[in-house]
């Protein structure tokens, strides 16, 4: 995809991001932070691509380190967010 198309997507994402996040209730700001945190763990995709194209030992080592770190970010982020959100319960009967 050419540069301008990518830039267009970026600018539109900024607006979507601001729009969606400004509606988040301040009660849930901590899960928002850890949830957003989990989402940027998707750098794992980038790390996998780099590791899959590595041809020498050094590059592969560093790329696998990136895969490892990104996985921790992604998996840990979603797990901990789920744990937090599970605790937000409504009054008995009124909730789930």
């Amino acid at each position: 995809m050419d540069g301008m198309a990518l830039l267009t997507i970026t600018v539109l994402s900024v607006f979507v991001g601001f729009e969606v996040v400004s509606k988040v209730s301040s009660t849930l700001h901590t899960p928002l932070m850890s949830g957003a945190n989990a989402i940027h763990g998707i750098i794992l995709v980038g790390a996998i691509i780099v590791a899959g194209q590595a041809s020498d030992g050094w590059t592969l080592t560093l790329a696998l380190l990136a895969v490892l770190l990104a996985t921790m970010n992604l998996v840990g982020g979603f797990v901990v967010t789920d744990r937090m959100l599970e605790m937000f319960r409504g009054r008995k009967g009124a909730g789930r």
């Binding site: 009660t27 770190l69 840990g76 599970e86």
Partner: protein, 457 residues
């Protein structure tokens, strides 16, 4: 071999991106939030499977092993962490994400000679490194592996400026030459800049820094999307960048300060400076039994929890007190300031963990009109966020900070450790007002005594 055509790949990445937007959208209400997060996780899974199926990749067993190890390390930590330790865990996960982005950029440099791609690479490398090092220092501060006080030394602004200058110079040189050794220089100075950025920030301001570094990692990931030509990374990174930016600004305004003031205030001598001298003016203190009588014969009680409650781990006791009062037919709600706790919204998580239903957790704007109709306001371990000086004293350091208007209530009870002022280091006039009584002691112990006394009524 690639099983998926470029069209299918793009389509699956689009689905993953939509899942991420839905994950954030779900957080608009506690009801939909958990489902939203699971949708986000599903999106991430789709994306990871897609990358394996869409490209010809070598070293797959190694990659799978690294993923397995990463999951095996992170999932148990995430499951076991105490809710009070959430800020440092978020900082840690944020840091490793930034580190991964920086490594990806570093390794992609030899594969391109396009200056625009190199620009994206140096951005990812620099911001990722700053985020990695900054987050680890933040983690160390919150975990109390190092001092939580601002660390300032003479010449810090000069060292900081020099470090940034070297980083920028290296960036420019990389864009024109693509030299690998310069990328390592950039990485080192990025790390140094990250450390220097966070060192001078005091304990109370650390949450803002976490939020800001979260935005940084998001931006680094978005830039890495330009490096790899991957739309999903661009969208996901940008969403996180936007959310981090909004949160950082929301927190700074809830503290009545500017983001730059928090980051660079310490260069001029301590970001959370202030007196820690206890006042000796007379106050009305009372016993747990008196407080229990006040609460037990009220019709409506608002509890204002602050940082002191979290420190004392008193959230379960306060939840029990709420239950006991409600069983007597008393209406009890929690009025929660946006910066109560150690990160935005942290107090809500702590109370939710103690099984307080989310309907009882009221935001500042929602609860402020309710103080007038409340019989008793119980302030537990909070001080600056209920200080009327923020509205009435233009010269005060907290002037302009939005506060919980506890001063409009008929009766106010403070549970406090001592007469020492809060982070802002200023006295709270409300403590000396006639409608105020104080109960001194550790928040958890005091709550326990009050709870026992209410039960005995």
């Amino acid at each position: 071999m690639s099983l998926l055509s470029p069209t299918w790949t793009a389509l699956l990445y689009l689905i993953a991106a939509i899942c991420f937007v839905l994950a954030l959208k779900g957080l608009s209400s506690p009801k939909s939030a958990r489902r939203g997060n699971l949708i986000g996780a599903a999106g991430a899974l789709v994306a990871v499977v897609t990358v394996f199926l869409s490209m010809k990749l070598d070293n797959i067993p190694w990659i799978l092993a690294a993923i397995a190890v990463g999951s095996a390390v992170a999932a148990p930590i995430a499951r076991r962490v105490q809710m009070t330790q959430m800020p440092q865990l978020v900082a840690l996960f944020n840091g490793v994400g930034g580190g991964a982005a920086a490594l990806v950029a570093l390794l992609e440099l030899p594969h391109t000679d396009d200056p625009w791609v190199r620009l994206a690479i140096v951005f990812t490398l620099l911001v990722g490194a700053v985020s990695f090092a900054g987050s680890l220092v933040t983690f160390a501060k919150l975990q109390e592996l190092m001092t939580t006080r601002p660390v300032v030394f003479p010449g810090l602004p000069i060292v900081m400026s020099a470090s940034v200058l070297v980083a920028v110079a290296a960036s420019v040189a990389i864009i024109f030459t693509g030299a690998g050794w310069l990328a390592v220089v950039l990485l080192v100075f990025g790390l140094l800049t990250g450390v220097l950025l966070v060192l001078p920030v005091g304990g109370a301001d650390v949450p803002i820094v976490i939020s800001l570094l979260n935005a940084f990692t998001g931006l680094a990931v978005a830039a890495s999307g330009f490096v790899l030509g991957n739309v999903l990374l661009i969208i996901a990174g940008t969403l996180v960048g936007a959310s981090g930016t909004i949160l950082t600004r929301a927190m700074a305004s809830a503290m009545g300060r500017s983001v730059t003031g928090i980051l660079f205030g310490a260069f001029k001598g301590g970001s959370t400076a202030g007196s820690t001298v206890a006042s000796d003016r007379p106050v009305r203190s009372s016993s747990a039994e008196d407080v229990a009588v006040l609460l037990g014969y009220a019709q409506k009680v608002v509890i204002v929890p602050g940082y002191g409650l979290a420190v004392a781990q008193g959230q379960h006791t306060v939840a029990e007190l709420q239950g006991e009062l409600e069983s007597r037919g008393i209406e009890v709600v929690f009025g929660i300031h946006p910066v109560a706790g150690r990160m935005p919204g942290h107090m809500n998580v702590l109370l939710a963990e103690a099984n307080v239903p989310y309907e009882s957790l009221k935001e500042m704007g929602e609860v402020n009109p309710e103080f007038k109709t409340a019989d008793v306001v119980l302030v537990v371990g909070a001080n600056d966020v209920v200080n009327p000086a923020a509205k009435t004293t233009p010269g005060s350091p907290i002037y302009g900070m939005p506060i919980l208007e506890v001063d409009s209530a008929r009766q106010v009870v403070f549970l406090k450790r001592s007469m020492r002022p809060g982070f802002a280091g200023i006295e709270n006039e409300l403590l000396f007002e006639p409608q105020t009584t104080l109960l001194f002691g550790d928040a958890k112990e005091s709550l326990g005594k009050v709870l026992a006394a209410v039960k005995a009524l």
